[in-house]
């Protein structure tokens, strides 16, 4: 369990030592992260994109799985807050690599670092690490479990676009079974009072998902009809090889979010996608690039959200964020 203690203090709800997932956060904590991200957005618009909020802090980006956009987004967030960063890429599982995750954790601890951003192929690996080192641990994706900063940036983008999260209807479309983005979004959206649905072929919907409090659509047309926003997940090519779907062509024909399907709803529906996209598979180009798409604002918000998380875990207070970024070192 995430040791997130939601002690209400005069400085608002605090995060715990780590950010492992959204399942065990409270709405007030998620709200605080989103609110803290607001003032940080502006830093990236400046000519000199750097404030000394995390000056002197050492952050390790520990990636056991390849990642481009998440790692870069974290790195920008860290550098724009003035932290010193090191990237470690370790391909394959720790077992294949020879060194166990326990030993990796102990070595990091011995180097007296302040924070670890970790991505790992095994569900639970971020929590495993967090329980064994005193540094703050931020989960940048663990197996098929959670990817909390992605869901937070989705929430922020949704709030920017619709003005609110509570009461909105959001459907996550695609490979729910293998998606940590789906799980973090489900937990985060439900905490914030949204209605949540998932849609995809039943072979890609995990057992018991309804018990988490979401509804299931078998047809994408029904999902679109119901939704205010669609969060469309990438369909990985390997799902075809392992027999979850017969072909990408058929996937697009049955589950693809196309212009015609979107227009049939007769009202604007916000389009999110965590990327990278397979144009012509789960999403058509005229949808990805269309007026309802907030896919690029998601990327922009990603940096602000990660700044907010880093700032809060480092002990910052939500309402001091505006002052902190002002440059008062």
């Amino acid at each position: 369990m995430t040791p997130a203690t939601a002690e209400p203090s005069e400085s608002g709800p605090r995060l715990g030592k780590d950010l492992i997932g959204l399942e065990n956060l409270e709405a007030s904590q998620i709200q605080a992260i989103l609110d803290t991200a607001e003032p940080f957005k502006e830093i990236s618009e400046r000519a000199i994109k750097k404030v000394p909020v995390l000056r002197g802090k050492t952050i390790v980006n520990l990636f056991f799985e390849p990642s481009t956009r998440t790692r870069i987004s974290f790195e920008f967030a860290e550098k724009r807050l003035g932290a010193d960063t090191v990237n470690i890429s370790a391909s394959g599982s720790s077992v294949q690599k020879g060194e166990t995750l326990v030993d990796t954790a102990r070595n990091l601890e011995a180097m007296r670092i302040d924070m670890v951003v970790v991505r790992h192929g095994s569900s639970g690996a971020a929590q495993f690490l967090a329980e064994r080192i005193p540094s703050n641990v931020i989960n940048a994706g663990d197996g098929q479990h959670e990817h909390p900063t992605q869901a937070l940036l989705d929430l922020l983008t949704l709030r920017d676009t619709l003005g609110k999260i509570s009461g909105t209807k959001v459907c996550i479309v695609g490979d729910i079974r293998h998606s940590r983005v789906a799980r973090s979004n489900i937990f985060g959206l439900l905490h914030m009072g949204a209605e949540v649905a998932v849609c995809g072929p039943r072979s890609l919907i995990p057992a018991g998902i309804e018990e988490l409090g979401v509804r299931c659509f078998g047809r994408v047309e029904e999902a679109i009809e119901w939704s205010d926003a669609l969060n469309i997940l990438r369909l990985q090519l390997e799902r075809m090889k392992t027999g979850f779907v017969p072909s990408l062509r058929e996937y697009n024909r049955v589950f693809g979010v196309t212009r015609a399907r979107l227009d049939a709803a007769g009202r604007p529906i916000v389009i999110l996608h965590p990327g990278p996209m397979n144009r012509g598979v789960e999403i058509d180009s005229d949808v990805a690039d269309g007026p309802e798409s907030v896919i690029l604002p998601q990327v922009t918000n990603g940096v602000a959200i990660r700044m907010a998380v880093l700032y809060l875990l480092a002990g910052g207070h939500p309402e001091h964020a505006e002052a902190a970024k002002g440059g008062a070192a």
């Binding site: 166990t100 197996g143 479990h145 940590r180 799980r183 995990p206 998902i209």
Partner: protein
């Protein structure tokens, strides 16, 4: 194995609970030359007898566990035949059947002989080897079952893996009949468990862990029940964990087939909720299921649809469990917590009497497997356990006799202690 030539032993003043002869009364037990000589009130001790005061204790036939993993040869850092045999008597077991999935596997007479010799030296519980059902346990070619039995094997199994090939399974169920031994099957369709690491359902979904559906067990079990019908062979089903499996076992029982089965102490009480937090100590195959399954297997055990309790004792070194959940091995260390866990799951809540529990742990395995043990009848080997059913204790893996301490119930308070264990009339374990 009745080579005990020690002095006579008189176990005096205990409550003798032996369901095999419907006995549950205060009585003495006299042991001569490693066998039960008499059970009755106020027996007189022959000259030179050892007297064991059993006042306040339950005296029962020793527990028999037809499913343990002792890891030797190959994984002696987890357990050895000696440490396992001593863990067994510490848990009240006087006989354990060792699964052949060692490294190398016990698929030839020499390996069977190795297990028997190591067990003789250990002087703990009796250890009876189960031979592999297929050469190398790779599910392709039947082992020399007759040779294995001649060397001392009591059953065949590819446990750890199922025998997948339906044709091979049929032949094994036919061929083993000559030797009067059961084919013990780990029922699991690997295409359905598909790399799963815990029970399939909402908990696995929330944790992002791959699930093993109930159907992975029940589908294979259903096939095997049909093959038992076709062949008349004795099928023994390992560690039943699902309510659907129970239904197929019920059908087999109603049809009078030679199908027997076992359930583990952990599947009688624990659920998948223990996995939350990625607790690798609760990673076991078959996985801990949901309450409905626990209830079903418990009721089946009470009814006798599931015949017996077996631990599936699966020791692992702590480093192997101190890992990412996906990479940690399956298995729970079961011998020393079995009696307490079963009391907590079955007797304390009133699902069965202590006498019925002793039947399911001692008499039923002997009955189903046609053993001369599992009873205190005159002439039977003096495999006896002395129990204190109402004394609470706290599970502390650091104090296990087993070489490993992997258990999801560390720190739990359990009822019921084993005070003394005798094998062939000789005390092999005792504690205060």
């Amino acid at each position: 194995m009745t080579h005990s030539s020690g002095r006579p032993v008189l176990i005096r003043g205990g409550r003798v609970t032996d369901p095999s002869q419907d006995l549950d009364e205060n009585a003495d037990v006299l042991v001569v030359a490693g066998r039960v000589e008499a059970v009755g009130p106020r027996l007189s001790a022959p000259d030179e007898s050892d007297i064991i005061d059993a006042t306040g204790l339950v005296v029962a036939p020793g527990f028999i566990d037809v499913h343990v993993h002792l890891r030797e040869p190959g994984d002696e850092h987890k357990e050895t035949i000696a440490t396992g045999a001593h863990a067994a008597v510490a848990g009240g077991f006087t006989q354990v059947w060792a699964m052949p999935n060692t490294d190398p596997p016990v698929d030839n007479p020499a390996a069977v002989g190795f297990v028997i010799a190591a067990a003789e030296r250990a002087r703990g519980a009796k250890v009876r080897p189960i031979g592999a059902a297929s050469v190398g346990q790779n599910g392709e070619r039947m082992t020399e079952v007759g040779e294995l039995v001649s060397a001392g094997a009591v059953a065949v199994s590819d446990d750890g893996h199922p025998v997948l090939d339906s044709g091979l399974m049929r032949r094994i169920l036919e061929y083993t009949q000559t030797f009067g031994i059961p084919m013990i099957q780990h029922s699991e369709d690997p295409a359905l468990s598909a790399g799963g690491v815990m029970n399939e359902g909402s908990v696995a979904t929330a944790l992002g862990l791959r699930g093993i559906p109930n159907a992975a067990e029940a589908a294979m079990l259903a096939r095997d029940v049909l093959l038992s019908e076709v062949t008349g062979g004795h099928l023994h089903v390992c560690h039943v964990s699902t309510r659907q499996s129970v239904e197929f076992l019920r059908m087999a029982r109603a049809a009078g087939l030679r199908v027997s089965s076992e359930v583990t102490p952990h599947h009688l009480l624990l659920t998948e909720e223990l996995v939350r937090g990625y607790n690798t100590e609760a990673k076991v195959n078959p996985p801990l299921r949901i309450e409905a399954d626990v209830t079903a297997v418990r009721e089946a055990l009470v009814e006798g649809v599931i015949d017996m309790i077996a631990t599936d004792h699966a020791p692992h070194h702590y480093e192997e469990k101190e890992r990412e959940f996906d990479d940690a091995p399956f298995g729970i260390n079961g011998l020393e917590t079995a009696f307490g866990l079963c009391l907590k799951a079955l007797v304390e809540p009133g699902h069965m009497s202590l006498s019925m529990l002793i039947d399911r742990m001692s008499c039923a395995p002997a009955r189903v497997m046609s053993l001369e043990e599992g009873t205190l009848r005159a002439g039977a080997p003096a495999d006896i356990v002395l129990l204190v059913p109402d004394e609470a204790w706290t599970v502390d893996p650091a104090r296990f006799v087993s070489r490993s301490g992997n258990t999801p119930i560390a720190g739990w308070e359990l009822p019921g202690k084993v005070r003394r264990t005798l094998v062939d009339g000789e005390t092999r374990f005792t504690t205060s």
